[in-house]
Amino acid sequence: MQSTSKNFKANSTKALADPNLQQALGKMKVGFVEKRAKARAALPEFDALRDQARDIKNHTLANIDYYLETYEAAVQKSGGVVHWARDAAEARQVVLDICAEEKAKSVTKGKSMVSEEIALNAALEAAGYEVVETDLGEYIIQIRGEAPSHIIAPAVHVLKEQVADDFRKKHLHLDPKRSLMERKELISEARGVLRQKYLDSDVGITGANFLIAETGTSVIVTNEGNGDLTQTLPRVHIVIASMEKIVPTLDDASAILRVLARSATGQEFSAYTTFSTGPKKAADPDGPEAYHVILLDNGRTEMLGTEFEDMLRCIRCGACMNHCPVYGSVGGHAYGWVYPGPMGAVLTPSFIGVAEGGHLPNASTFCGRCQDVCPMRIPLPKMMRAYRRKEFEAGLAPPAARFGLDIWGFVAKRPSLYRLATRMAIGLMGWRGRKEGRFKSLPLASGWTDHRDMAAPAGKTFQDMWDKRQGARSAKDLEREAAR
């Protein structure tokens, strides 16, 4: 997917002016937050489970080569095939090769952010395959020609009425006079249309929420059942998973599952948690004849051993974006690449570089809510700050900002100069603003005064007044006072 992360500001302006998007975001913000809070309150062990989940992933990452090799051997033993892909191009090629070998015509897909990351649909379509997204949200945005705007609710930006319009345009074989007023009608129509797609498909592609080293198992967590149909009905099942999805055992996966759905949708458990191990066995009445797993690196090994390693604990629940006031204002598309919100502000520069994605870590107030709700206790603000440092050190920060910081730094480390400068500025501003108590516009702060008034300074600094009052200045002053 072509990144527009550099245009975050312009993207945001557009997003803020889109009434449909703003209406949709308004609904999202309340729903996810309330549901998670309720789920958390209902499980007294929740925060302890978060610590445990963090520890499991940290242990796994510390020994990830061991677990990946163990996993690979277990997959092979169950009759599956493991492919290692260094980058997006390699991963796409593996999929294309399998499809060619299987003489496939059509491909169905369950929801997979990694497949978005490697831009798989475009590659498959260019090679002549019919590609159908089967998750309802993904299907809606596929019809609309859009990218997902949320990692677990890809069409969160689309209103019901827009879906109805899209379905009318796409499903021309259906009665044009049919009613599509209700959500139920839309869902039932998608169910009917997609049902045939599953049955006709040759290859089903899913992502994975976990890979389990103990058993060579891939896990998907869904609510609709589309992922299960995608991986059960076609002849071939391809799992595409990034390497950090690995955990040691079924028990470890279960422990992390306890915080996943609660953090994501506020459900205690998703409707379908499916553990898949190898292809159909001889006596099985159904299931795919071939089972492939693609283990994707695509920048992850570069994060190991760095200050960004914690990010590899991410289980893609989306809680950080659900609770992010910036995401809640502009939605996911403004972030310009696959992963939006706070997680995207760390993953985007990690995967496509600071030059391309460096804007995103700046677009945060560091309010810290993302870290507060992260089930894996990922210190997201700390990592965003680290990317700001990298951007600054690489000389990529805007020149005006650098110049401002230079002046500020020069003054702020010289207390007497600082006091002189502030006294002058504040005296002037206070004199100009005293009558009204506030400014409606300020020449150098239009970013502020375009939207809100600026309270006028009092005209004197606290420091000057403290001087007048002959207040104590040091611990020694206090000792002298006490001695008196």
Binding site: K27, A213, A271
Partner: protein
């Protein structure tokens, strides 16, 4: 491509970890031991009831996610239960049944108008009847295994899914279900091709974050809890 990619990825991991090769010796033994012992973490209090309370937890939590639950005291009550469910939901009198030994014992002759067929689904069946491996009280979750007696398609393609679960198969936590499963795994140590954890009927919130049931999988999940 794959083998060199594999080497390169593993090499980068080891470099980041300050190692020149695979984990060896004592460290490896420790990891092997962890895999074998599968240490359990925190099991929430809510997953720790026993006896009748455990069964009640399972039932109320399954109902809490929009499954319907019915107690039956013998397999011979299944035909009535199925027929009533079909009638209540205005469904045709036909069921696709998993070729499971337990279900094969059911005598359907008392319900001659009901058409019962066995095997996998190809999408034409409105209702399926299957046999669960376990019920997990923690979240009202069913565990079903794929295998010769249990086609996966029956869990997902029909509009309504009826599942027979014995009371004695209800466990507290997910980990309890895994232990129960490990006892069953064959000598090759390979899991069933698919283990489905099912918690209520299919649903989606993809349109305006409002949950609707019956997205792609079943609209109805009916659990027959069989006394044993």
């Amino acid at each position: 491509m794959s083998s060199s990619s594999r080497d390169e990825i593993l090499g980068k991991i080891r470099k980041a970890r300050g190692r020149s090769g695979p984990i060896e010796g004592f460290e490896r033994d420790r990891l092997d031991a962890r895999l074998k012992s599968r240490p359990r973490g925190i099991i929430p209090q809510k997953a720790r009831n026993t006896g009748a309370a455990l069964v009640q937890d399972f039932i109320s939590r399954a109902q809490g996610v929009e499954a319907t639950v019915q107690d039956i005291s013998a397999l011979s009550e299944v035909p009535d239960a199925v027929a009533t469910y079909l009638a209540d939901h205005n469904l045709p009198a036909a069921v696709k049944m998993a070729p499971h030994a337990d279900l094969a014992q059911i005598d359907w002759t008392q319900r001659p108008t009901l058409t019962v067929s066995e095997g996998r689904s190809f999408g034409q069946d409105k209702v399926s009847l299957t046999r669960a491996f376990a019920g997990i009280a923690e979240t009202g979750t069913l565990m079903l295994l794929a295998g010769p007696e249990a086609p996966t398609t029956l869990n997902f393609l029909p509009e309504h899914h009826i599942v027979v679960l014995k009371r004695s198969e209800i466990v507290g936590a997910y980990e309890d279900a895994w232990d129960k499963l490990r006892d069953q795994v064959g000598p090759d140590g390979i899991l069933s091709r698919v283990v489905n954890m099912i918690t209520g009927p299919s649903r989606t919130g993809d349109i305006e974050q409002t949950i609707e049931l019956g997205a792609h999988g079943p609209l109805g999940l009916h659990i027959l809890v069989l006394a044993d």
